[in-house]
């Protein structure tokens, strides 16, 4: 599978992370794939919108996500690794398909819920954790992009809160339906071990067991992501006891 964007190569900027470079390479590949998928989602959203302001907004977001992907690629070059991507990898493909179903239904609110609440919660939390342990500019880039993704969530929150106020039950049912679809896939991605084979993004074997070498763990990334998701659902106003049950029912 060809990568969605081709990254310009520049001379390697090898740093002290050379021993752990293969781990960072896989982390960057996952992050880059996620950003490109988000860019594709925002582009699809722009094609569905009628309001010129909404179209411009979606395209701006898509451009921003492509910028994030390029930033991750650049960080890879600095440590001497080639960061590839695969938006057709099995989990990412399922996430894209879930989003496209919302597009097919011309359901703008569902698109926001999937992209801004579910996928961005995952991005904000995991990038933040990676940002804390990654050395030098790599850590700074992850932290900066985490902060920018958080702004996306804030942007969507006012729209979604207003939508929920119109019909609480209908809105919560919609979130639950999308949760079952999207969060089940994300939970499988975040499982401590990839039980159903290679994820098709990591270069060789699964990176998860090696995360301990950079003071991270798959359990930590999953925990932080689901915590961020719960907090985001709290901000929407969905009762905490309801969302707790949703999250505990996800596969592990």
């Amino acid at each position: 599978m060809e990568p969605v964007i081709e990254v310009n190569r520049s001379p390697m900027e090898c740093t002290s992370v050379s021993i752990t470079a293969p781990i960072w390479q896989d982390i960057l590949a996952q992050a880059m794939t996620g950003e490109l998928l988000a860019a594709m989602n925002y582009t699809s959203l722009s094609e569905m919108c009628d309001d010129p302001a909404e179209i411009a907004d979606a395209l701006e977001h898509a451009q921003g996500e492509r910028g994030h992907a390029a930033a991750f690629a650049a960080e890879g070059r600095k440590i001497g690794v080639d960061v590839t991507n695969n938006v057709d990898a099995k989990h990412w493909k399922r996430l894209r398909e879930a989003f496209l179903r919302c597009i097919a239904e011309r359901d703008f609110i569902a698109c926001l819920i999937v992209q801004e609440i579910m996928l961005e919660s995952f991005a904000v939390a995991s990038y933040s954790r990676v940002g804390k342990v990654a050395p030098g500019t790599l850590g700074k880039t992850f932290a900066r992009i985490a902060a920018e993704e958080e702004d996306h969530v804030d942007h969507a929150m006012s729209i979604l809160r207003a939508e929920r106020a119109r019909d609480v039950q209908r809105f919560d049912e919609k979130v639950h339906r999308l949760h079952l679809d999207v969060m089940t896939t994300l939970a499988q991605m975040l499982a401590k071990e990839c039980k159903d084979g290679h994820c098709e993004v990591c270069h060789h074997t699964c990176v998860k067991p090696a995360l301990f070498d950079i003071s991270l763990s798959a359990a930590e990334l999953r925990g932080a992501s689901l915590q961020q998701y719960l907090k985001t659902l709290d901000m929407l106003g969905i009762p905490g006891e309801v969302t707790l049950a949703w999250v505990t029912q996800l596969p592990v």
């Binding site: 401590k192 709290d234 905490g240 006891e241 592990v252």
Partner: protein, 364 residues
């Protein structure tokens, strides 16, 4: 929804935490393995877990919420105190946001906050009680009941209180000191020990105090364990071979390694609500893990009793303010709504002969 009360708690063991998660997952899903529970639980933010509806024998009803702070059972040590206070604060914020009129603080939630009420979030119309007064009431009632059952003369007893300077320990000391022959106060903070001893001695009580339990000169024959221990690790050392021991800790104080074959141990500070209690979803037997129905820790029952009484006030606050008069006042409120001392039990099951007081309803 009208929320009369909120109960803030946490699980004292991984087994209990796993059972809570299993109920949330539902019977159709496989329970999570222990390692997954240990990985997931620390990340769960404090939040409501279920609704709790209670009834009073006087005909009142009260609706409430159980909010779990999700403090991991192995993180109750002092090293985690700031993290745990933050969790209790967030749980308190959930109660306030839900509009709870009164909030009871269970287990370590109360210990963390009893001296730090100013650390709770902006409260609006919500009041907080540690619930310690009713806990003291049930501990004292339990001691008296066990003495009656076993024909022991409390007035000739030497009472040891472990954790004597805590809110619960000092409350028990004030209530029981006039009723025993001698009282031994054990706690780590020597300054507070001296202060409590002086207060009791002023009333003519024979007091001995020690920061280390091995240093007491006499052996106690009645013991109350009310220390803030992160796990059951207490070894009592020298007590009478047939001592009566009330373990009122949450988590329990007594170490499973404490070999006292002749001692009579029971769990203290528990009450039973006889007007009915319903959880939604059904956490019955999971949040109240006792061999009898509708048994709850006194600290949580205090908030329920005050809600049924429509007396939304911070009845128990701070440390060291529990007096026999306040305990009696709380006992009267609780009894008015059918909240009584629970049938006594220990790790092996019900304590024989302790069921007769409320036998008609306690074994429903």
């Amino acid at each position: 929804m009208n929320v009369d009360f909120a109960l803030i708690g946490h699980q004292e063991s991984w087994r209990a935490a796993a059972d809570v998660i299993a109920v949330l997952r539902g019977p159709e899903r496989t329970p999570l393995p222990d390692d997954e529970i240990k990985d997931i639980l620390p990340w769960i933010p404090p939040r409501a877990v279920c609704h709790v509806d209670v009834g009073s024998i006087a005909g009142m009803q009260a609706c409430g919420l159980y909010i779990d702070s999700f403090i991991p059972p192995d993180r109750l040590e002092a090293a985690y105190v700031h993290e745990n206070i933050a969790r209790v604060r967030k749980a308190a914020a959930c109660a306030i946001k839900a509009g709870a009129k009164i909030v009871s603080l269970g287990g370590f939630s109360s210990i963390l906050i009893e001296g730090n009420f100013d650390q709770l979030p902006e409260r609006n119309d919500t009041v907080f009680t540690t619930g310690n007064t009713l806990t003291v009431a049930f501990i004292v009632q339990g001691i008296k009941k066990m003495c009656d059952l076993e024909g022991r003369d409390l007035s000739q007893s030497t009472l040891l209180i472990v954790g004597a300077t805590g809110d619960v320990g000092s409350g028990c000391a004030r209530c029981l000191a006039p009723l025993v022959k001698r009282i031994l106060l054990g706690a780590r903070n020597v300054e507070r020990l001296h202060r409590l001893a002086a207060e009791l001695q002023a009333d003519g009580v024979q007091v001995e105090l020690a920061a280390h339990l091995q240093r007491f000169l006499v052996a106690a024959d009645v013991v109350i364990c009310a220390a803030s221990l992160p796990s059951p690790s207490l070894l009592l050392g020298r007590v009478a071979p047939d001592a009566l021991i009330c373990d009122a800790g949450y988590p329990k104080n007594l170490s499973p390694r404490a070999e006292m074959p002749g001692a009579r141990v029971f769990f203290g500070g528990l009450g039973q609500i006889t007007g009915g209690m319903k959880f939604a979803p059904d956490f019955n037997g999971v949040l109240n893990r006792h061999p009898f129905p509708d048994v709850v820790h006194g600290c949580l029952l205090e908030g329920i009793a005050l809600a049924l009484e429509r007396r939304f006030e911070p009845f128990s606050q701070g440390r060291g303010a529990i007096t026999p008069q306040r305990v009696e006042e709380m006992e009267i409120i609780a009894a008015r709504h059918g909240i009584y001392l629970a049938p006594l039990y220990n790790a092996d099951g019900p304590v024989a002969n302790s069921l007769h007081c409320h036998a008609e309803w306690s074994t429903r």
